[in-house]
């Protein structure tokens, strides 16, 4: 006997970036099994994971979470959020749980919240590394035990299983630290016994919200109905449409391999997927195969501090200097190095980007720009040092000469701010791109779940 279809709603592609309340309301009128949202990304670089800061503002997260949570409570269905805060740090899981508590109290409701923390114990990682159970992924940096013990944060990317365990424990809200985007949307359909091929393929597409649709004006909700032979995608804002082309094109987005998606429990191959227009705004997708893996793995991400950054920038308009910009920069950098070494030794890093010439990509260029903006970055061990280095470099740059203007001192950059140096705080770098092999009995050590009753009736 065919299984009853399972319908779920993705709030948007990144919690805190908004969606139309009318779209959510339209979705709540359907027989939803759960609401999900991805909250994480490495798109913004290593800062969020490294520092534990959240990508968007508290107010922006609170608005999306409140609407999603109250909608889910109204229907009595779970709300599943993955990669809290952006980096998926343990502290962000706690922060989201407090936010849910406040929202629940204000609304006079209670909820059972499952917190799944995903920062593994560092000594566990070191012992796994010694056993050869940290496998490098494409482009991975070389690592040693020092990387695994460095300050900053290391997270393991959760699959569907910790979410399924939380749902089994009766969670109304599941808050996961770092989480594979697709796992948010695959956990419940898999638990209901649907074919994992289409389930993972659907989950991979909807984790971006309505991004797989055409005509969208911004972030918005999308509805997905999993059936025995595939799944149907349907945007909830009436003018927005999913077409076979828009859905197929989206499967390419921000993935290195357009067909394969590796999850802790196996690999999706979407090569056999077909896309059929059910009408002018709904698409049915069939196919996709999922091959379970012999070993259970989790992707590790790490971000570690490298120092403190101070920056300044200025624009240049004189064609005489712009005509010799590469050689002027080289000589100027050498003079900055001498100036900084005299006071800070080798405790600094210095970089210049020339926007308007080749600042965006950094390729060699002979073209002479009409105007250029030079951005100067200094990194030191403390903010105070970095700031001092930037102020010293600023003075060298401001008056660095060209031979043509030989009769006196010149000023080479125009800058709009007093004071010109901006102290940007700690900066980080990504340190890991590895698979952690998780042996039997280790999963609950890597992904640690606690259940909390929040709110007030």
């Amino acid at each position: 006997m065919p299984r009853a279809p399972l319908t779920y709603l993705a709030l948007n592609g990144s919690l805190g970036t908004g969606f139309k309340e009318s779209s959510l309301e339209a979705g709540l009128g359907r027989p939803l099994a759960f609401i999900g949202a991805d909250s994480g990304s490495t798109d913004g670089g290593p800062f969020y994971l490294g520092s534990g800061e959240w990508i968007w503002s508290y107010a922006a997260y609170e608005r999306d979470l409140r609407l999603g949570f109250l909608g889910a409570r109204r229907l009595g269905i779970p709300l599943i959020i993955g990669s809290c805060g952006g980096g998926g740090n343990d502290s962000a899981v706690d922060g989201y749980a407090e936010m849910v508590d406040r929202i629940a109290r204000a609304a006079g409701v209670t909820a059972r919240v499952a917190c799944v923390k995903t920062e593994p114990d560092r000594e566990l990682l070191v012992s796994k590394y010694r056993e050869g159970k940290l496998r490098p992924l494409p482009g991975a940096p070389t690592i040693d035990e020092g990387v695994l013990r460095a300050p900053g944060h290391i997270v393991a990317m959760s699959g569907a299983e910790p979410i399924q365990d939380a749902l089994d424990a009766g969670a109304d809200v599941v808050l996961v630290g770092r989480c594979a985007d697709a796992a948010i949307f695959a956990a419940m359909p898999l638990a209901h016994g649907f074919d994992p091929g289409p389930v993972w393929n659907a989950a991979k597409i909807v984790e971006c919200g309505s991004a797989a649709a055409m005509n969208r004006q911004g972030q918005d909700c999308i509805l997905c109905t999993v059936e025995d032979d595939g799944f149907v995608l349907e945007p909830l804002d009436p003018p927005v449409r999913c077409t076979p082309g828009s859905v197929a094109a989206h499967t390419l987005y921000e993935t290195a391999d357009p067909y394969r998606l590796t999850m802790p429990s196996g690999t999706l191959d979407a090569r056999s997927a077909t896309y059929e227009a059910l009408d002018d705004r709904r698409v049915k997708v069939r196919g996709g195969t999922f091959t379970p893996s012999d070993t259970y793995t989790a992707k590790l991400e790490g971000a570690a501090p490298v120092g403190y950054l101070s920056s300044f920038w200025g624009s240049m308009r004189d064609p005489v200097i712009l005509g010799q910009l590469p050689s002027w920069c080289e000589a100027m950098k050498a003079q900055v190095d001498r100036r900084l070494a005299s006071t800070w030794g080798d405790r600094y890093r210095f970089d210049v980007k020339v926007y308007g010439a080749n600042g965006t990509i950094g390729e060699p260029t002979d073209a002479v720009p009409r105007e250029a903006v030079l951005v100067f970055d200094l990194v030191g061990d403390t903010q105070e040092e970095a700031s001092g280095m930037a102020r010293a470099a600023y003075h060298v740059v401001l008056h660095y000469p060209v031979k043509e203007y030989r009769a006196g001192s010149i000023t080479t950059i125009a800058h709009p701010y007093s004071a010109p140096v901006v102290d940007r705080g700690a900066i980080y770098r990504f340190t890991l791109n590895h698979q952690l092999v998780i042996d039997d009995g280790e999963r609950s050590q890597v992904f640690r779940t606690s259940i909390h009753e929040v709110g007030k009736p």
């Binding site: 670089g45 494409p138 482009g139 991975a140 970089d351 990509i361 990194v379 900066i427 770098r429």
Partner: protein
Amino acid sequence: MRSVANAGRCFSLIRSKDAGPFMLTLDLFFADEHCRRAFLDAEVFTAERIGALYGVDPAQVQIFDLADIGALKISFPRPVVSGDFGDTDITGGQQYALVVDLIGSLDVEGEGPGLTVRLP
């Protein structure tokens, strides 16, 4: 005719993006099947050419020919890891510009089934 206008004429979408912090991916959607055929026949997008353009080992360049949706996907390790000191483009969002430059350097003649593409 050599022109960067051929980017918009022969493609409906050209974009780049990080695929995680360690990989960059380029998506090229051809305007139609004639364009796709002409660019593939001229062997414009090879691992060697993309490797040289982006300063990466051609052996690390993966090219996916997605004929059913008229697209090419090209993926390779980022020369600088996203957010490392000195990175110029954290999301990788403007790195496709070198491909537009490449398209602008090609001799593109004719139209429809008669479209031809020639490397300089």
